[in-house]
Symmetry: C2
Subunit: 200 residues, 2 copies
């Protein structure tokens, strides 16, 4: 082995006048596998929330002003614009998660596009976060009135009657909050990944 | 093609002993001046929204169940948890905008810390965006019920009586939406700035 190594050492000495080797490429932290996992989770959470909210339906006997007897009254999610907005926002987020999961898989296959994708991903993720967080707040605020009522404005609580309906709404709002947190994590991941690509 | 390529290859071989010229420094787009301007705007928007919401107070004669005559009833922002949440979130955003404006001015003075600051800025901006967007949605959802009511649940509208109060609430929600958009722009700016620092 030693006899075969010697010529190499001499050769390297003679190469000392040559330019120094280029610096090693920076350690790139891509986390694209984590990114795909989070996006699949986002898909699952938003799809579940849309299904749970869409199936929120309950019919109970309730007293209606002007009628002396109790009549069956149905509670559905599309009776409130806030819940319609939540379903719309979560549907958009669900579709977006499918598209970006496929794009992330494409980036894993061809890493040359990673930097550009990270830029566009982050900005779209932030816009989606704004939409989903606002929808979560809207539905949560209306659901809270349904749960507790508001004595100052005379808005009565309805969750003591429509218990199953309220459980559906509460679950959908909780899942939507989880989706918002996932989007915050996705943006942070992309920003960390971009930051790790900067040569200091 | 083969005959024209040969001289180029020989020329490159003769230059191989020389060190390659250092790569040009990357074109850094910092936009820190725009960043400071947006943060000052965020401060102004959140402070105005907090003041407008805190001064939302109106007393009107209203009929109260159980009393045969109309009594003066006061509407205040702290009668609804949604509006309290909006004031709290906007106060946090206001304080945050002061701190980060000063930090941005510090980065303009000492640009060596810019990359680290951009990383932390972006992540905190995203968290703040989630909080402010959710608060905007919550207050907006409750304000919409006050404006339009909900016939399905029997929640009556109150904005036909408390017009000044509702104008204050609407203005605060609008300013809060503007603050959310500013935060989206701030995150996009930081991400663009980070992206421009990557040597491709």
């Amino acid at each position: 082995m030693a006899s075969t190594d010697k010529p190499d050492i001499e050769a390297s000495k003679s190469e000392a006048s040559l330019p120094p080797p280029p610096p090693p490429p920076p350690k790139r932290v891509d986390y694209f596998a984590v990114d795909v996992a989070l996006r699949v989770l986002l898909f699952a959470a938003t799809l579940t929330a849309v299904v749970v909210m869409s199936t929120a339906k309950q019919t109970e006997d309730a007293s209606v002003p002007g009628l002396p007897f109790r009549v069956p009254v149905e509670a559905k999610f599309n009776h409130s614009p806030a819940f319609i907005y939540l379903v719309a926002a979560l549907s958009v987020a669900c579709l977006y998660s499918i598209i970006t999961t496929l794009a992330s898989l494409g980036v894993i296959a061809k890493p040359i596009y990673a930097t550009q994708f990270l830029l566009y991903y982050t900005i779209w993720d932030v816009v989606l976060l704004g939409i989903v967080a606002a929808a979560t707040g809207t539905a949560g605020g209306v659901a809270y009135i349904g749960l507790k009522g508001n004595s100052h404005t005379g808005w009565i609580k309805i969750c003591n009657v429509y218990d199953k309906f309220c459980r559906h709404v509460g679950s959908a709002v909780g899942l939507s909050l989880f989706a918002s947190i996932l989007l915050v994590l996705l943006v942070s991941l992309s920003v960390f990944s971009l930051h790790s690509r900067i040569r200091t």
